[in-house]
């Protein structure tokens, strides 16, 4: 079975799914590592866990876990639950049954950015400091020149990269302590993703640009021409393309071969009413999902350049997207608290 956007069913009906409304913006969503559950981090401090199976009965809502808003959420790479960060300064491990245990408490700071690695490690940022949690041990990295605005693991999990004013800092997190490596570019960097092959680090900047460093040569490149800040970056599974938000259609920079220098980005899909606010490349195949600040959701096929609409505009910005590990389900959250789990098998 494969995802085929040429199937006429896509034009006739929206895909089946589970939809529910909550009374708070969705900040982040993720499927659990085993694919059995999906969770949404909400602006009222709740982590709403639902079965990934759209036919299974809905699990009841739990009490808020965070004092303020949930700001970040990822699947727990060391279990079948989740990890959440909030503006109450806490990093929580949330078990599949919704019970929470505290990993980090930084009162007065916000735990804003999270990344997970399949080795079981979790990286979190709070203010100028990065935390790595692995095998029950918490280690600190920093301080950085400013609050960390993006964090990610290298492919092999041996390093983390943190975005901040003036560029990116890469730390080795293994047992051998190495000095951090600094990749400099002026200005404020507001998003970061390490490429899935480990060769590049991409950031979005305050000046509506994308900055990419090639790790091996420490050379860098800048892509301009966005009408807004690029807050969402997503590398395809094979690292051949970097998808970016802040455009009205799917926009991907080609990194295969000699890289994107001197080439235009690949653009396809239907124009949304607004700009894409979130992009999420498929976990294994050449598909991509893009959510708009105007509420539409589109699915694109990189090979055929076909696209289909998965959700119509309702004016509320899509704030988070997540693929299930098997790539057949898509979780969607909006700033008006619309939560959806779509089943894309047709």
């Amino acid at each position: 079975m494969k995802l085929d956007l040429a199937n006429p069913a896509w034009l006739q009906t929206l895909p089946p799914g589970r939809s529910l409304g909550v009374d708070a913006p969705a900040a982040a969503c993720a499927f659990s590592t085993d694919g059995s559950r999906v969770a949404f981090g909400l602006g009222d401090g709740r982590v709403r866990i639902l079965p990934a199976d759209i036919a299974a009965p809905e699990t009841p809502a739990a009490e808020p876990l965070h004092g303020g808003a949930v700001l970040a959420l990822v699947a727990d790479p060391a279990g079948d639950g989740f990890v959440s960060g909030g503006d109450d300064g806490r990093l929580l491990r949330v078990a599949a049954d919704g019970t929470a245990s505290e990993l980090v408490n930084q009162k007065g700071r916000w735990v804003e950015h999270l990344a997970a690695h399949r080795s079981g490690a979790i990286a979190a940022s709070a203010s100028k400091t990065a935390f790595v949690v692995k095998d029950g041990e918490v280690r600190e990295f920093g301080p950085h020149p400013s609050t960390v605005a993006g964090i990610d693991f290298s492919k092999d999990g041996s390093r983390i990269a943190c975005a901040h004013y003036g560029g990116v800092t890469v730390w080795s997190i293994g047992n051998v302590v190495l000095p951090p490596r600094r990749f400099a570019w002026r200005g404020s960097h507001v998003a970061l993703k390490w490429s899935t092959d480990g060769k590049f680090i991409a950031t979005g900047t305050q000046e509506n640009d994308i900055h990419v460093w090639r790790m091996a040569q420490a050379t860098d490149m800048r892509m301009q021409g966005y009408p807004a800040k690029v807050k969402s970056l997503s590398w395809t599974a094979d690292a051949r393309f970097l998808f970016t938000s802040a455009q009205p259609v799917f926009t991907a920079w080609p990194f295969a071969g000699k890289g994107p220098e001197g080439k235009p980005p690949l653009q396809f899909g239907d124009e949304g009413a607004g700009l894409m606010s979130v992009v999420a490349a498929h976990p294994s195949a050449e598909f991509v999902a893009g959510g708009y600040d105007s509420g539409e959701l589109q699915l694109g096929d990189l090979k055929t350049r076909r696209s289909v609409v998965l959700r119509m505009s309702d004016g509320a910005a899509i704030t988070c997207l997540a693929w299930s590990p098997d790539g057949w389900k898509l979780a969607v959250g909006t700033d008006a608290g619309a939560l959806q789990v779509l089943d894309l098998k047709r």
């Binding site: 808003a69 007065g108 916000w110 800040k229």
Partner: protein
Amino acid sequence: MAQAQVPVTVLTGYLGAGKTTLLNRILSEQHGKKYAVIVNEFGELGVDNDLVVNADEEVFEMNNGCICCTVRGDLIRIIEGLMKRKDKFDGILVETTGLADPGPVAQTFFTDDEVKARTRLDAIVTVVDAKHFFGQLGQGTEAEEQVAFADVILLNKTDLASEDELKKVEDRIRSINRYARVIRTQKSQVELDAILDKGAFDLKRILEFEPDFLHSGHSHDHEEEVRSVSITADRPVDPDRFQKWMGALLQLRGPDIFRSKGILAIDGAPRRYVYQGVHMMMDSDWGTPWKDGEKRTSKLVFIGRNLDVENLQRGLDDCLKS
């Protein structure tokens, strides 16, 4: 979703002037409103409020070649983060450190599209210590610049100074910033509607907010001091020439010009053209129409350092239709 822009009030003032007292008053008073507060010293506030956010004043230079385009990245981040909360609030109060330059805070609200979409800078409120102001002026440029940026100035701790001292401080404040409203206070006690929801950066309210605006004239202090100057013109302004002149002026002198405002009678336009700016950043719009038979006078105000009023007047005169 169309959301109303949340008003943001910036509280500045030298160390010990009474900012924290003022904040505590705003938060503890029964006004039925909910404020998010962004402070630098977490824990100094006596009020328990889960909407108090600790910020490090993280200033960065925009990567656009403009040397005075410094903004507060932490504010951009915090404002975005606050919007993720379920609880909404009526306003945001930003307290700066005693030695902070208010420029980057103000410029943040001119620069970032998301911040502009969600919030509006309402006013800059500066608390001045009546007893120690002159001493603080001698310690660096901060105390003077905080007054220069202000829309409202609380002349605080008046119980600790004599009437004569107060007059002298007021005169000095006026020589720096003739356009701010000065309110005498003790222990930062002030009616909240005197400092909140002022619309000082609202282009529609430029005329109504500044009672002093229409009186031309200028003081004769030393030019290197921070002061306010205004210039006027009675003939219509040529928009192209004005744009060129103002662009060049701000390019060259932006770092020295803290605030600027203006109402222009553009040649052939039935409505007033209004603008206001902080350093090199500027907002402008068409204002109310001129009435029939009304004298169409253009008025420009600058608050800054090293301002040569004759030179500015000549610059404006060169933009007029002959």
